[in-house]
């Protein structure tokens, strides 16, 4: 496996030389993923909370469909969003297709079920006495739910990290909705796909190494935040 050694050298060279295309792809990957995970958290965490605490008809059905959505292939999400934001789609007027915004929309949709599901299970796994205790001490329902979130914050942090991992590593949504435009919507993963299709395996693998490094750094930062 000569090309593994070659790819290792290539990735080092790219990182040390701060190659413009690589820096741009890293930036696109990270910024799109961060925006997506922020939006997905704003929607997914309350969604998971509501499902975990709430009592409503079809609750089991909602949980099952949430689990199914987690298994949704990224290209299917890409296709659905594509159909909506293409010029011929209902939201075509915004001209979002093949922009970073389109990727944000798609990756948000991708991450919501993950964040919601992890939130749901962390709350299900939490102590059943938290809510009644907060309520009986005179906290309003909203205050009680905030206390519950505080108690399971590690679980919710894990939900966000899992969602981030999924989003930054996926290629289907980024490729279909972003279009792999150089210096604009080219992410680490779509760049890898492109280099692979060009037969530049070593270069692709080098980018993969850089992606792992970036993911490691992000996780270290989150881990650091978690410890505080």
């Amino acid at each position: 496996m000569d090309f593994i050694r070659e790819s290792f050298q290539t990735s080092l060279t790219l990182i040390l030389a701060l190659d413009r295309d690589v820096v741009s792809a890293v930036w696109t990957s990270v910024s799109v993923a961060v925006w997506s995970i922020i939006l997905a958290s704003l929607i997914g965490i309350p969604l998971g909370l509501t499902i975990a605490i709430g009592n409503f008809p079809l609750k089991r059905w909602v949980i099952t469909s949430l689990n199914t959505l987690m298994a949704m292939p990224t290209v299917v999400i890409g296709l659905v969003v594509y159909g909506i934001i293409s010029r011929q789609g209902p939201l075509g007027g915004f001209g979002l297709l093949f922009t970073p915004s389109a990727m944000i929309v798609g990756q948000t949709v991708l991450a919501i079920p993950i964040v919601a599901n992890y939130t749901l299970s962390s709350i299900k796994g939490a102590d059943q006495r938290i809510l009644p205790t907060a309520l009986t001490l005179g906290a309003s329902p909203l205050q009680s739910v905030f206390q519950l979130i505080r108690e399971v914050r590690f679980g919710i942090m894990a939900a966000v990290i899992a969602g981030f991992g999924r989003v930054i590593s996926e290629v289907g949504v980024a490729m279909m909705l972003g279009g792999n435009i150089q210096g604009y919507t080219r992410t680490m993963t779509t760049a890898i796909a492109l280099e692979t299709s060009k037969g530049e395996f070593a270069f692709g693998l080098a980018l993969g190494g850089i992606l792992m490094t970036v993911a490691l750094m992000v996780n270290l930062i989150l881990n650091f935040m978690q410890q505080r």
Partner: protein, 269 residues
């Protein structure tokens, strides 16, 4: 339900904000993978972008999909290579002002030993016939690209409906198909530009049949019809088309070389 609508709106609001944060004007072009993978666009686009202070967003897909993007109005200009499909695109009113830009040719490549003996063939159709007769592995793009369209034409000329375990429809771009043919030691049809970029280090396959008129591979550039899609940047698209077909643009194209060999040829004026 109200909450859900609010959240959907919120996602789009943020997405739009992100979108408008970059103010530079952008021209969207869908093109075939060969123009991008060969590296031509890297030298062709920057002079235009500098001159007009615009960014050209390249979406590199198969020709079939590139034209579909034009039909839907998701791009402003298309740069492709499948004359028949282009003509239909124009006839249906989706595009206007098609211009010839450049050409190269298709080649049939295969293992150096040439088990099907196609290097002695008189025509491309005959070459395909002997591949089919011998049952040698043939990798087809299978993705409705310009190359795939041309390949299907040739099978038709040969009077063969390719089917069987030897005929593999990859459904991938030119690069992966050459890689696949190399791994399986099979035949395939490729555009010369992409093959030249792979030749040597990335593949040990060789050109076994070329030089026929029927393998001519012309590239055309078409503006998306503003009457069908009022939002397209027609003026900018025309500026780009004018630039590509200007003496300066053509000089860049004919001067572009990979491994010391030209990839695309321009028409003599």
């Amino acid at each position: 339900m109200k909450v859900a609508r609010f959240l959907i709106f919120g996602v789009f609001a943020v997405a739009l904000f992100y979108q408008t944060a970059s103010a530079q004007e952008r021209l969207k072009m869908s093109t075939t993978t060969s123009t991008q993978d060969s590296g031509l666009l890297k030298v062709l686009l920057p002079p235009f972008e500098k001159k007009h202070n615009v960014k050209v967003d390249v979406i590199a897909v198969g020709t079939g999909q590139a034209l579909k993007l034009g039909e839907a109005g998701d791009v402003d200009v298309v740069f492709v290579h499948a004359r028949k499909l282009e003509d239909k695109f124009l006839a249906d009113g989706f595009g206007v002002n098609r211009r010839d830009v450049m050409y190269n040719d298709f080649v049939i490549i295969g293992p150096k030993g040439d088990p099907a003996g196609i290097s002695k063939a008189k025509s491309a159709a005959q070459a395909l016939k002997s591949i089919a007769a011998k049952g040698s592995i043939f990798i087809s793009r299978g993705d409705k690209s310009g190359t795939h369209t041309k390949e299907k034409e040739l099978w038709q000329t040969a009077g063969i409906d390719p089917k069987g375990s030897w005929y593999i429809e990859a459904g991938q771009g030119m690069g992966p198909v050459i890689t696949m043919a190399t791994e399986r030691q099979g035949y395939t049809m490729a555009d010369r530009g992409t093959f030249n970029a792979f030749k040597g280090k990335k593949t040990d396959l060789a050109v076994l049949f070329d030089g026929e008129k029927g393998l001519f591979n012309p590239y055309g550039i078409i503006a998306v019809n503003p009457k069908k899609h009022p939002h397209v940047k027609y003026d900018l698209a025309m500026q780009f088309i004018d630039f590509v077909t200007s003496p300066e643009g053509l000089r860049i194209i004919s001067g572009y070389k990979v491994n010391g060999e030209p990839v695309f040829f321009t028409y003599r004026k």
